[in-house]
């Protein structure tokens, strides 16, 4: 099963399980979403629970906030996460802060999900990785799956979460990665990473589609005799500190890889956290491999995003210490 199907299944099962779960967004109904993540849901659950909305992200999110406050569990689709910024006001002030503002009297159990990240020649507005904007906003969870199985389990966990979740789906692997996905109920808990691969020389922390680049780079590194441990964080806020530190204890070397831009990309937080609290664990620099600090380009995106060569280069760098 691919990730689109896994997400579709997660939505379907959750909507069957809990009638408070509704889906809304642009083209999510009869069109089934532009990537077909919501395909067929309108046939099973009808237009009251699978809601084609007018074209305004601010409206989609703002209305979902009201629904969540009232007692529904809305899953709001942003057609491409790059279009989320019109909703930023609603996300910061309301999705994230209603609970605080109301001293816990109201809450916003909702998911904002959408395709993110590069690799499909989507250009500036169909390729972005906006984790930072959300990770810097208290009150939110930020999640990004890298496999179909995780996608299903994480989306279910997100829908059931009493706290709002920004759920980012790397569209380049929507249909590219297939794996066995259990039918029926299971969740992948928020806040827990996944050990993708064990190793002893370098801890490579990453998430989303970069997991696959990291695996490739590790192969090259291992040809040189360097053993690479790979962690897929899955949840970016709060990130799985324990898993990272456990690995670092062994390797004492850290490389963080992400598609988000370098300056204040998520790696900055992980790096700064480790420097602040565990500098004694570090044998050398904490390397960041990230997209460059430019808008996402249409031309040469594969040279803009982290690739195997750039990840390998960072590994080589830390191995010199």
């Amino acid at each position: 099963m691919n990730m689109v199907q896994a997400l579709n299944q997660a939505l379907r099962e959750e909507m069957r399980r809990d009638e408070r779960v509704v889906v809304l967004g642009e083209d999510v109904g009869r069109r089934g979403g532009v990537f077909l993540v919501t395909e067929g849901l309108i046939d099973e659950f009808g237009p009251d629970r699978v809601i084609d909305t007018p074209l305004t992200e601010m409206g989609i999110v703002g209305v979902a906030v009201g629904m969540a406050m009232y007692g529904l569990r809305p899953v709001a689709e942003i057609q491409f996460i790059d279009f989320v910024y019109e909703a930023f006001d609603q996300i910061v002030n309301n999705v994230a802060w209603v609970r605080f503002r109301s001293a816990g009297m109201y809450k916003t159990p909702m998911v904002i999900r959408g395709p993110c990240c590069g690799g499909i020649r989507g250009g500036m507005h169909h390729s972005q990785s906006p984790e930072t904007y959300f990770m810097h906003t208290p009150g939110l969870y930020v999640v990004m799956p890298s496999t179909p199985k995780d996608a299903k389990g994480l989306l279910k966990a997100s829908i059931r979460s009493d706290d709002p979740v920004i759920f980012l789906e790397p569209k380049v692997i929507y249909r590219r990665i297939r794996e066995e996905v259990p039918e029926g109920d299971y969740i992948v808990p928020l806040g827990k990473g996944r050990l993708v691969k064990e190793g002893s020389d370098v801890t490579l922390v990453t998430w989303g589609a970069m997991v696959y680049q990291a695996l490739e780079a590790a192969k090259h590194a291992e040809k040189r005799g360097w053993s690479i441990e790979i962690i897929d964080l899955r949840t970016l806020l709060p990130w799985d500190k324990d898993l990272v530190l456990e690995s670092l204890e062994k390797t004492n070397r850290l490389v963080i890889v992400h598609e988000a831009r370098r300056t204040l990309g998520p790696a900055a937080e992980i790096s700064a956290y480790v420097s602040e609290n565990h500098i004694d664990m570090l044998r050398g620099p904490v390397m960041r491999v990230a997209s460059y600090d430019t808008p996402f380009p249409l031309a040469h995106e594969k040279l803009y995003m982290p690739n195997v060569a750039r990840i390998y280069r960072a590994i080589r760098e830390v191995m010199q210490w």
């Binding site: 509704v22 409206g59 529904l72 605080f100 001293a103 208290p138």
Partner: protein
């Protein structure tokens, strides 16, 4: 879900006659102006005149008085440095109370920050208002944003300070209620300035498309801080904006509690019965400054304020009650005085209360504190030891 041409609305033709006629009617209401009472409390529209008992009338009056009294006290408390900021309500009591009384307790209110009368009408006590404003240990919103009131107990959702943010929330809640089959209505208040925000546009548009049970109340108090409504929009009225969304828009005298009550009641019940949303522009006037931080003399004359005093909603309603034989002017004043003393009394008590715990802001960020916040909490606790070591008195 059927596909096809049924989804097009007269694409290559003018709007059909019935649509034109309906819009003609909507335009008339949106450019018109309805009132029950004139400036002197004389009834000028018998049809809209609600048939209320003397007790009910007395209640409306008392609620407006209570709003005005607590408003004045909050102003004073701010000047004394006890309250961080207050947004005066004076002059706008009729809209707040009239709309709130048109709602049922199970309906949800999404107010802005200038509707003390509505909170009181829905059951919030002066003591609670003061706990909030003074951030005592009983502050129901636990020291979050200023000038904001709300409590789930009364189905009053605390407003976000960014104006207009609550408009789509009211629509979303209304959509949710409809989906769940709850026969409730949501009502949201906002100002003339807030009609310029994206939230207004999104909220009204969703409400129109989904025929949501929601009533939008624009308190057109003529200003957004210093910006007059003529600079806010080139539309001749704010009610006419509703027509952009296929929603009826009514323009009424917001300083006349009887017309507010009647028109709001009709809109609320229409919404409850599946008739969809209504937008009501209540024309009113902000008699005080925008907030206690404002200096209105920079942008308006005292004569102007004076000129609008004749339209004071309490004055007009008192004259009406007097004429109706419900309450003499002197009795009316006594009620005011009584509430003033009562509130003074409450304030004395509330001022004695301890404040909120110093770690209050660590709570209600998440349903459970995540590890990074827990670690920060530890650092937070340590600062008190460090301060002691340094001989520092930490400001709170």
């Amino acid at each position: 879900m059927e596909k096809g041409v049924t989804f097009h609305r007269f694409p290559f033709a003018p709007a059909p006659r019935d649509v034109r006629e309906e819009y003609q009617r909507l335009l008339d209401e949106a450019l018109g102006f309805k009132r029950v009472l004139d400036e002197d409390g004389e009834v000028v529209d018998e049809q809209l005149h609600p048939k209320l008992s003397p007790d009910e009338l007395l209640e409306l009056y008392t609620l407006m008085v209570r709003a005005r009294v607590i408003d004045a006290w909050l102003l004073r408390l701010q000047r004394m440095g006890k309250v961080a900021l207050h947004a005066p309500n004076k002059g706008q009591e009729a809209t707040a109370v009239g709309v709130a009384k048109a709602m049922k307790p199970e309906d949800w209110l999404f107010p802005s920050y200038r509707e003390l009368g509505a909170y009181i009408a829905r059951g919030m006590s002066e003591e609670e208002i003061l706990d909030r404003a003074l951030n005592t240990k009983d502050d129901p919103l636990k020291g979050s944003d200023f000038a904001i009131y709300g409590n789930r107990k009364y189905n009053i959702v605390p407003a976000p300070v960014p104006v207009g943010n609550q408009i789509p929330h009211a629509v979303g809640a209304a959509m949710a209620a409809k989906i769940l089959g709850d026969k409730i209505v949501t009502v949201t208040f906002f100002g003339d300035g807030s009609t310029s925000r994206g939230d207004f546009h999104a909220g009204l548009n969703f409400a129109g498309v989904f025929k949501s049970p929601v009533v939008f109340v624009i308190q057109n108090n003529q200003y957004a801080i210093s910006v007059p409504v003529t600079r806010q929009t080139a539309a001749p009225t704010l009610a006419v904006k509703a027509l952009a969304y296929g929603v009826p828009g009514k323009r009424i005298d917001g300083n006349d509690i009887l017309v507010v009550y009647s028109v709001a009641k009709e809109a609320v019940e229409r919404a409850r019965n599946g008739g969809g949303p209504t937008l009501i522009e209540t024309v009113t006037y902000r008699m005080g400054p925008h907030t206690t931080a404002d200096d209105p003399s920079r942008y308006r004359n005292e004569e102007e304020v004076k000129a609008f005093e004749r339209l004071d909603p309490l004055r007009r309603f008192k004259l009406y009650l007097d004429k109706q034989g419900v309450l003499t002017l002197r009795e009316a004043e006594e009620i005011e005085k009584a509430w003033d003393s009562k509130v003074e009394e409450i304030i004395r008590r509330v001022l004695e209360k301890p404040g909120l715990p110093r770690d209050v802001f660590f709570h209600n960020v998440y349903s459970r504190m995540p590890w990074h916040l827990e670690e920060e909490y530890k650092e937070f606790e340590e600062q008190f030891e460090v301060a002691e070591e340094l001989g520092l008195q930490l400001e709170e």
